[in-house]
Symmetry: C2
Subunit: 345 residues, 2 copies
């Protein structure tokens, strides 16, 4: 299994999770709903932190719940165990071994609040620590850069949010994701072309807004890990608070701009960046007129509900990162310096 194989395996992994995790997640949701939860705390690091950011938006929008991203070092460095009085505590980790993430979930379990582990290893320390486990069933992920476990984490978060929201129609929307992923993978040729053109890039900004802010973060991390490009992710809103000063003619800007409520703000920023600052824009969108803003573009599938776009829009971004890695003559399977599993305390 190569990185490319794992990228192309994502529709199969998503379909398997939809089929096999539906019942367990419904049971978890029923248990959480029976308890008095007024906010959510999520512990995660690296790529999984971006699944946690997706959960911040999703649980905020679907459930109107405040979601805190845990600061594991408050416990691991300073020994201050958070008091989880009415929290749902979630740990997200592909490997399930990071001691600081496990520590937060253990604290929640000890305090008797509902705890959920989302992990690709149901025999991991994280799974053992949590009351409930969502097994990602993604199969072994061998490439150091996480791809299929990331979208599996997003799918688990989407399924859990959907089950907790208890509304009709969301299951049917979720069922569309694997086919949309297959369609998104058809961008490979365009992604490879854009990558070849960006082979000399040293730095860039990656923009997203709303749900796809998580995708901007994850795209930037893939670029750093795999291609050594200093990719700086921003929400369009935060970008105006300072980082806009960085741009100059020709500066590479990568943007995720699918249809939806986040679109207007972001498109206005992209138009300004192209018109006033002459940046070099690569844009992923389902809408042709938005794609036309970029010198390069990647076509996202049309018709996907906005809350599910991050599960699909990361795929062309992964393909761009894969082909940029190759275009730069770097190793796609084992980026320099970094390990697959990082045990941060």
């Amino acid at each position: 299994m190569s990185l490319r194989d794992e990228i192309f395996e994502q529709p199969v992994v998503a379909r398997r999770l939809l089929d096999e995790a539906h019942e367990p997640i419904e049971r978890i949701a029923a248990d959480v709903q029976a308890r008095d939860v007024d906010h959510v705390v999520i512990a995660a690091r690296g790529t999984s932190d971006h699944a946690a950011i997706y959960a911040q938006y999703l649980f905020g929008v679907l459930l109107r719940l405040p979601v805190a991203l845990a600061v594991p070092s408050v416990l691991s460095l300073y020994g201050a165990e958070p008091r989880f009085r009415r929290a749902l505590v979630v740990g997200i980790s592909q490997s399930g071994v990071s001691p600081d993430v496990v520590g937060i979930v253990e604290a929640g379990r000890r305090q008797g609040v509902p705890t959920v582990a989302i992990t690709n290893d149901p025999a991991s320390a994280l799974a053992a620590a949590a009351e409930h486990v969502v097994d990602l069933r993604a199969g072994p992920e061998l490439a150091v850069a996480a791809t299929k476990t990331y979208t599996a984490e997003l799918m688990a978060v989407a399924m859990l949010g959907s089950a907790l929201a208890d509304g009709p129609g969301r299951a049917a929307e979720l069922a569309v994701v694997p086919a949309a992923m297959e369609e998104a993978l058809r961008t490979e040729e365009a992604a490879a072309g854009a990558a070849a053109d960006h082979a000399g890039m040293r730095s860039c900004t990656v923009l997203g807004r709303g749900f796809d802010y998580a995708t901007a973060r994850e795209w930037a991390l893939k670029l750093k890990e795999l291609t050594h490009v200093l990719a700086d992710p921003y929400s369009a809103a935060d970008f105006l608070h300072g980082p806009l000063a960085l741009v100059e003619p020709g500066f590479p800007v990568l943007a995720l701009a699918p249809s939806g409520r986040a679109s207007a703000d972001l498109v206005a920023l992209l138009e300004r960046l192209v018109r006033d600052h002459e940046v070099d824009l690569l844009v992923a969108s389902d809408r042709e007129e938005i794609r036309a803003l970029g010198r390069w573009s990647l076509a996202l599938p049309a018709g996907l509900p906005e809350w599910l776009t991050p599960l699909v829009s990361i795929l062309p971004a992964q393909l761009f990162a894969l082909h940029l890695t190759r275009a730069r003559g770097l190793d796609t399977e084992a980026p320099r310096h970094i390990a697959k599993v990082t045990r941060t305390h």
Copy 2:
């Protein structure tokens, strides 16, 4: 008032806030303690977001409270008003005008939970929205890059955390901050020397850990705004999850490494970066043996309790950014493209 004047005004601003805001903050704390709060939600953008990150660590360590950084767009873009059942809702904004930050505080006020505005304009929309106001009393800040209002925000957070924690001795520790700031400003010559040496820098990583992760974020933002360096901030823990792949011999790494519980992890990473990857290290620390790791170093005052280090360690970082701006022939007062007040929705 120039940017440099505002940087040097920080000890005076901190002393004024300690004197004049003590009583109001004690009253706010008493009111919050009388209500049933099990977590905190903070809305902020840009520089103020870094004061919110400091509050995540501080309230976590002193009060063992989970702290969520609000995702204002959940409300402003998606129309989903968070349900703040037992939250303390805090808005932090120098100008107090950003509609999305105001919107979160208004929602909390409407729902009857305690709300606090931390702002430099007690006549602002944010102040009007909140039940309680901490007036930063920093005087007009004219430079586009925020400096004195940032440390005033940190001081307000520290005073509020201290008042809520109700423990002895913290007021005496807080009283030391203005003098420590004065001492930190004595690094100007060293900061100017390091800046001149880094005049050609295009990108860098900024590392912090624990409380000073907020400082790493703020230092990086100042560098982006003022000097157009693509500065990428990381906690030492997250840096191992991917971004480590970026480093190569001579890559500039700026680090905040004061004494304290976060020190061991970070120093181990810095040693590895210097020894194995031959990075070009500029390090700020109170300890000489840590400073000796860097090709350049900035001396932080000794003896400051770890929970207060961010109020002081940002000052040498601001001076470095100021002098790097000058060394690159750029405008310290009005960075290109960006406005002092950003009205994000």
